[in-house]
Structures are given as C-alpha cells and as structure tokens.
C-alpha cells in the first residue's frame, strides 16, 4: 500500500518517492494544501475502491494515519 500511496502523492506535490515516509505530514512536510489533500483522498478512494468518511479527514495528518485508516475500512 505504501508504494501506491507514494506514487499518488508524487502526482500531487513535487517530492521524490524516497522523501515520503509514514511519518510525513501531508500539509507541513509534503506541501499539500487543503484542496490538493481532498483531491488526493478522492484518488485514494478510486484506487482502493473504498468510500472515505469526510468527518474522519481531520484525523488523517500523516501518510501513516491515512494508510491505517484505509486498512481499517478494507478490513
């Protein structure tokens, strides 16, 4: 899942794949703005065939947070 996340992240912000870690924060470290971030989640929804609950979005601060959230929906 991490590789797929990294691939999608690099389509939104100008970072190299090796710079992305599970601890990277979307806004502060990777440079997402709030609209980029929501678009990114939309793409994650399509990629993993899930529906993200918008009320949970504020809890998704880091790449790891988002991965764990997706895994919990798919479980």
């Amino acid at each position: 899942m991490f590789e797929k996340f990294t691939e999608i992240i690099t389509n939104y912000v100008d970072v190299l794949p090796e710079e992305v870690t599970e601890d990277s924060r979307f806004i502060e470290d990777l440079g997402f703005n709030s609209y980029d971030f929501m678009s990114f989640l939309g793409e994650i929804e399509q990629e993993f065939e899930i529906v993200v609950d918008e009320s949970q979005v504020t809890n998704l601060q880091t790449v790891g947070d988002a991965m764990r959230y997706i895994a919990s929906i798919k479980a």
Binding site: S34, Y35, S39, G42, E43, Q46
Partner: protein, 514 residues
C-alpha cells in the same frame, strides 16, 4: 409567467416548470448511478413537501436545513419556503454546540438534516427543546423523511400567498471576527439578485455545483440562476471527488472560489510540464471534462495572475463581488468582459456610492436586517436603505475596485491608514508563501508568513528566512513608505481559519521575528 412577474422563490420554480418542464434540472450520483430530476419533478415535489408541512405541522414555523447539496436538500428548502415560512440553511461544518446555539437563536421548530449528521441528532434533541420536528432528508427507518414525503404525499391544492417582502431565509454569516449574525433575506431580495444580470446562461448549459449550499453565493448563482435559465445543475458529492466528477458531468460553466481555481491551475501547469508535447489548452480542457466555456469566481479576492493563467489556457474567468447581506451580488461580469483588476460592473438596480472610502450600496437585494439584532442592523443599514459593506474601494466607469476591509484597517501613529489586504494581495502568486496575514505590531507593519513547505523542502531555516526577506524587499519596492513591511514573522503552522477557509484575523501571533 415572464421574469418580471416572478416575485417569490415559489414563482421561480413554477416558472421553470412552465418554461423548461421535462428539461433536466438536476443530476446527482446515487451509488454508481446518476439520478436525473426534471423541472416538473422539482415543482411537484416542492408542492408535496409544502402540503405535508402545512397539514402536519401548521401554518407558522421556522425551519432549518443542514447537509451537502442534494435534490432532497433543495426540495426541503424550496418546499418549506413555499409555505410562506423562512428557512435557515446551516453550515454543516459547525461544531454541535454552535449548531444548537443557532437553532435556538433562530427559533427553529422544524429541522431537516442529511442523514450524514444523524449522529448529532441526540445531542441536538438534548439541547434544543424548541425543535419539535426532525425530518431526515433521506429514507430512514421509523422516520418521516423528505424522500418519503415526496413519494407518498400529494401536491397541495392551494398554497398560502407569499409577498415579496416575506422572509425567505435567515443566513448566518461565518464572519472572520465576532459572533455570527442572521442575515434576513426576503423572497424579493433573492429574486432581485437572480434577475439582476442577463445572458449568463441558457438551457443548453450544464453547471457543476461544488461550493457549500448554505452560502448565498452558491445558492443564488448555482441554484437560483439554474432555475431562471433552465440550466442543468450537476451535484459534486464531495470536494474529494471534484476531479472525477468534472470528467463525469462535463460542465460547461462552473462557479469556484479562488483557492480551488488556483489549485486546479497549478495542477494543469504541473501536468503540462510533464507532457510538453500536448498543448496546455488541451490538458486544461481534459481536466475540466472537455466542454468548459468559463469559470465564475467569487467569495474571495481573485488575483489577476490566476485570471490571466486561465485566459492563456483559453478559459475565460469572470468574477463578481458581493456579500450575504446583498443576496449576494453587487457586481458581476461576463466571460466576454476584458477588464482586469476590478471585481466586475455594478448589477442592474444597484446604486453604489463611496463614503470615507467605504463602498455603500442600495438595492432591492439588500437584506431586511439581522435577525433579532437591531443594534447590529443599525450599524450597517441606514433608515433609507443604504448598506455599509465594510469594504474599501472605488468605482471607475461602473467597474468596482476593492482595496480592503474597513474593519481591518491599520491606523498608524502618523495617522496613515493602511489596508492589510492591499499588502497581502502582493503575495498572491508567490510560490514560496502559502499563507500570509498583515497587521500592526508595536506600530510597525508586520507580515506573518506560513511558508510553502513544498517550495522550501530541503532548505534550512536560515535559507527560508533569507529567501522570504528578499521577497519582502521586492514587495516593499512596490508600496509607499507607510505601507512598507518592517517586521516579518515566520510561523510553522497554518493559520486558524473560518469554515469558509478565510484566515481569522483575531488569533495569537506566532513565529519568530526575523
């Protein structure tokens, strides 16, 4: 019914049914399907809902509605106001205690809610004893929902007479300072604003509505104009899915706020850089679904760089200016307008004058006042109907130019007045700065900056400070000495914002001075 005989919101959708009947009023996603509703469906369903409310609840009530844009939301809104009673569209992002406070303050007894908000209902019931009727928008076991009402009820045979100056909506403004105020808009206000420009759309056009429906900008310019012109409205079901939905619905017109327009523009530029063999205009069209004719922008300051950026991509961008208190439009422009730097031309029926630098307006779109707040009303609305907008600006050849907000004015010890927005706007399009707020600190103009992490990746704090200092020097060459930025603070967190993403001016200063 021609447009001059339309006096109320009910007249507007009845006229739409008469003129555009089986044309598609609205498309929305329902699971993997797209559901279409015609103008006739909409009229019939609104009349059914009105019948239910008048029969089961009574003649006099205040209703509220909360949720993202949906057909059921609009039927609840228009059906409710068709009974002659006002509705309060609530901001779905407000925390529960604030919602309860507004429900109480607005004297709500009937509450329509999208089932997304069902988890809050118990807390609202515990705190809002005056709310007697809870109506979910979508089918819910054990409840009478809007969807159930329109499938089981018949249309009202007669509906009460509604006058132009009857209250249609009480809209609570989020505001960057202070407690929110309930803007009272009449049927006449909203209809006047719907009719104040011409040639904006046709039944052949398709829009995709992406902005929050409780904002009067979205309500008037997406929904009411859609009903006036017979335009098909497609519902974007989440800000997460704009890119996907643009491809799905292929709108010809779209209403955006500058932040979204700017981000999409950046994405187009990134995609163009990655594929130089494809003309950028083609990439831009692909991003918007392939049929886009133009973008309307409103809600915040639109930097000319963004407007120019889209122009170069062959997508005209026009903008308007307004405020909730004015239903909302004061100015507007068409895609064919060529002027830059202004916020459009004054709409029909609106008078504008400048008093002490402030824009003051009078028009049939101007609100009745703030709900149960005569003091706040008297502060902005004169007895003869002039509304003080609080915006500073000037008018040239009927074009309005905005220079700042009166209440944010910085008054320096030498008596000079400085508008922080004027300085903040100098940072528009500067990639190294994500957010900026300008204020006076110990008598000096100070810029507090949240740097763009992406721009400064791998850079040390000293390097960031040095680059930003250089940028400030350049900006300072473009302003008069009174407006020179003397102090810089660099913060490492985003600014606190209102739910409409405007930076709150009343917040603690952060970051070290450099």
């Amino acid at each position: 019914m021609n447009k001059t005989t339309v006096k109320t919101l009910r007249d507007l959708y009845e006229r739409a049914a008469a003129l555009y009947g089986e044309g598609i009023f609205l498309k929305e996603k329902c699971g993997k399907d797209i559901v279409e509703k015609t103008f006739n469906d909409f009229k019939s369903d609104c009349h059914k809902l009105a019948n239910y409310l008048l029969t089961e609840i009574g003649e006099k009530f205040h209703a509220a509605v909360i949720g993202p844009t949906s057909y059921a939301y609009l039927v609840s809104y228009f059906g409710s106001v068709s009974t002659g009673n006002p509705i309060v569209p609530l901001d779905a992002q407000l925390p529960c205690p604030d919602l309860c406070e507004l429900l109480q303050r607005a004297d709500i007894s009937v509450f329509f809610y999208d089932t997304k908000y069902a988890p809050m209902i118990d807390a609202i019931k515990a705190n809002c004893p005056d709310v007697k009727y809870y109506i979910p928008l979508q089918e819910t076991e054990g409840s009478v929902s809007t969807e159930k009402i329109v499938s089981e009820y018949s249309e009202a045979e007669t509906l009460p007479e509604i006058k132009e100056d009857n209250l249609a909506a009480i809209v609570y403004t989020s505001g960057t300072t202070g407690k929110s105020k309930g803007v009272m808009l009449t049927h006449g206000n909203l209809i006047d604003n719907t009719m104040c420009c011409d040639n904006e759309s046709t039944p052949e056009e398709t829009t995709m509505t992406v902005l929050p429906i409780h904002h009067v900008y979205c309500f008037t310019c997406d929904i009411l104009l859609g009903l006036r012109y017979g335009t098909t409205i497609c519902v974007n079901d989440s800000i997460m899915r704009i890119a996907m939905n643009l491809k799905l619905f292929q709108p010809t017109i779209i209403l955006l706020v500058p932040m979204i327009a700017e981000t999409i523009l950046k994405q187009i530029k990134v995609a163009s850089a990655a594929k130089p063999e494809i003309p950028p205009q083609m990439i831009a069209q692909a991003v918007f679904g392939g049929r886009l004719k133009g973008i309307y922008s409103g809600g915040a300051y639109l930097a000319p760089e963004i407007q120019n950026g889209y122009k170069e991509l062959g997508i005209p961008m026009s903008q308007g200016y307004g405020m909730t208190e004015c239903s909302p439009r004061i100015t507007s422009s068409l895609f064919t307008d060529e002027s830059f730097g202004d916020v459009g031309t004054i709409v029909k029926g609106c008078e504008v004058k400048i008093e002490d630098g402030e824009i003051v307006v009078k028009s049939p779109s101007v609100m009745k006042g703030y709900y149960k707040d005569p003091d706040a009303t008297a502060e902005v609305l004169t007895a003869d109907g002039w509304l003080h907008t609080g915006d500073l600006g000037y008018v040239e050849n009927n074009h309005v130019f905005i220079t700042g907000r009166k209440k944010n004015l910085i008054i320096l010890s030498n008596g000079e007045n400085v508008s922080p927005e004027e300085i903040e706007n100098k940072f528009a399009g500067k990639d190294m700065v994500a957010e900026v707020m300008v204020y006076a600190e110990e008598g000096f103009i100070t810029a507090e900056i949240f740097p763009n992490a992406e721009y400064f990746k791998d850079k040390s704090t000293d390097e960031i400070n040095a680059e930003i200092s250089e940028l400030i020097k350049v900006i300072n060459t473009t302003v008069t000495s009174a407006k020179t930025i003397r102090k810089i603070r660099i913060r490492n967190e985003e600014f606190d914002k209102t739910t409409s993403k405007k930076i709150k001016r009343q917040q603690t200063k952060q970051g070290d001075l450099i």
